[in-house]
Symmetry: C2
Subunit: 340 residues, 2 copies
């Protein structure tokens, strides 16, 4: 492999000149620049990343800690990962992928060994054990999620409380008085995953504010899980006319269950989904939904990281307002036969 010295020799300049044409950190005469660039191209020179990291004290690599359980929320996670990688590339950075299974150890490892310049951490729990370790690191971190006590670490997320509220409000304004929530899997709640609790809180707020009846249960991300969850809601809330589904994987099963039990959507049951837009559009019914803007959030997290890397401070946490798209899965209460 060609080194900077080779390039310098070929161009008849010093290595520092080559370094400066590459970094643009000092003015270079057009003539010199041209010769250097020609040599670079000719030799197919690429700076050695390790040498750069050693001398320059940064790697142009970001760590992304993602929940790589293949069972849960797969499309949303994929969106985050995709958008983080894409956004990072647009800032000339690469992404080192960590699984959350490694927990704090992984973060400490890649930060401590200077493999990365900054970290983005997903799937934040309300009282996440990684936050204290993140604060101790030399590198800045951004959370996709919102813990109870961010402790000065930047957060980026959908405002899930507002999302829960919005979904219920929409239903209430359509005359529904009894609303069921099909939530994320039990494991998500048990881990204390922040978005689940926040969504539920917003849901409950709105239910109280509008004086509705409600029932909510977690659901395993399977057909049987969705069925069990729906049954429990039906038991507890006999007149239920609307469902909020905060569980992508339960969506398709749920629609199947409703149809085969003869409950039409939206005539007999209105359904609001909380999911990425493409999921909402890929179902048998175009779902009225509150979008989980995975792409936007990933990009936002990267932007925040970049500004921290530039040494800028600024608003610590940014919660995106939810937006509800009205489509075909909601109708006014009393539209169906059961309305009498």
């Amino acid at each position: 492999m060609a080194t900077i010295a080779d390039v310098a020799a070929a161009a008849g300049v010093s290595t520092s000149t080559v370094s400066y044409v590459l970094s643009g950190r000092r003015p270079i005469s057009p003539a010199t620049r041209a010769r250097v660039e020609a040599s670079i191209a000719e030799l197919g020179y690429r700076p050695h990343a390790g040498a750069r990291a050693l001398a320059g004290r940064h790697t142009n690599v970001l760590a992304l800690a993602a929940p790589l359980r293949s069972d849960i929320n797969v499309p949303v996670i994929m969106q985050f990962v995709t958008s983080v990688v894409t956004a990072a590339r647009s800032y000339d950075h690469d992404v080192l992928l960590l699984t959350n299974d490694e927990g704090s150890a992984g973060l400490e490892r890649v930060a401590g060994s200077a493999m990365v310049d900054a970290l983005i951490v997903m799937d934040i729990e309300s009282d996440d054990a990684r936050i204290p370790v993140l604060r101790r690191l030399r590198q800045p971190a951004v959370l996709i999620g919102l813990p109870n006590r961010p402790g000065g670490i930047s957060c980026v997320d959908l405002d899930f409380a507002a999302a829960g509220y919005t979904a219920v409000a929409h239903l209430a304004e359509h005359g529904h008085r009894a609303v069921g929530l099909i939530g994320p899997p039990p494991a998500v709640y048990e881990r204390g995953t922040s978005y689940a609790t926040r969504f539920l809180a917003g849901f409950v707020d709105a239910v109280e504010e509008y004086g509705l009846a409600s029932a909510s249960h977690p659901s395993e991300p399977t057909f049987e899980g969705a069925l069990a969850c729906l049954n429990r809601i039906d038991d507890e809330l006999p007149g239920v006319s609307a469902l909020v589904v905060h569980n992508e994987a339960a969506l398709s099963p749920l629609l199947g269950i409703l149809r085969s039990s003869g409950r039409r959507v939206p005539e007999d049951v209105s359904v609001v989904a909380i999911c990425p837009e493409d999921v909402a559009l890929g179902l048998p019914i175009r779902m009225t939904s509150v979008d989980i803007p995975g792409h936007q959030l990933g990009a936002l997290a990267v932007e925040r990281v970049m500004s921290l890397l530039r040494g800028e401070r600024g608003a610590e946490t940014r919660l995106l307002a939810p937006s509800l798209a009205e489509r075909d899965s909601c109708a006014d209460a009393g539209t169906g036969p059961r309305a009498g």
Copy 2:
């Protein structure tokens, strides 16, 4: 951050001794080792990755080029990514995630700048443009997939041709004489994605060998796509009694469509799915399926990489034999009413 010199000083030894206790590349007396390890722990020392890469000529990082389109095959891709990261960690390696959108450029970049020791590339096309560039790299590469001409590069994949054959054979042996194939999205075929073509080839082989009638069409990964695809198959193949579905995202919609049009599975239509096991088990019907062993393939790819890194050569391509799990979505032809 503590450096190796700090550790050496604290332990009263030379830096080379510290380096050797870390690498285990030469014998160290128990006493010295103990002192060094104590200093390491005390100082919280972590070797600087860049310095290591520069001096040691390897990074302990693998590149993984994955198709990060969020629209397609999401669960399988997730399985690959998850298992590659997990397996890599078990060999003390990290994973740098590349999107296939960057194409050859991304591979050349991370390899050329010595960011990675080896590359794993997914979503291989039959005549993949990245193969020639991979061959030129200093670092070894492993493909998850099978191009027409691997050119000496190691490949690891499910034997999709055998999978197609197996699915049809199973159906034929249950007496079905007219079999439809719901394939991957058109874009997958258009890109010349190798697994789609290979699967189709195996499907066709078996159809011919068993003297069956067949129809096959790609399907968009949506409800409407599945519906359109099924309609075309019904048109072309009026007596169709069995379906092979090589499209995860079409699976759930398809079952809904069949049910709501009054065709029972498996009594009226048998269905064989090609998908990961958890997908097959999360549907309303426990699907008879040919497993796509994403976890196994990812782990296998990493193992192959590691053996290449050790300088071993060996079998270049490894195709896993498909295994069909009989569950509840297939029955003998002539079971249903239409058998008359």
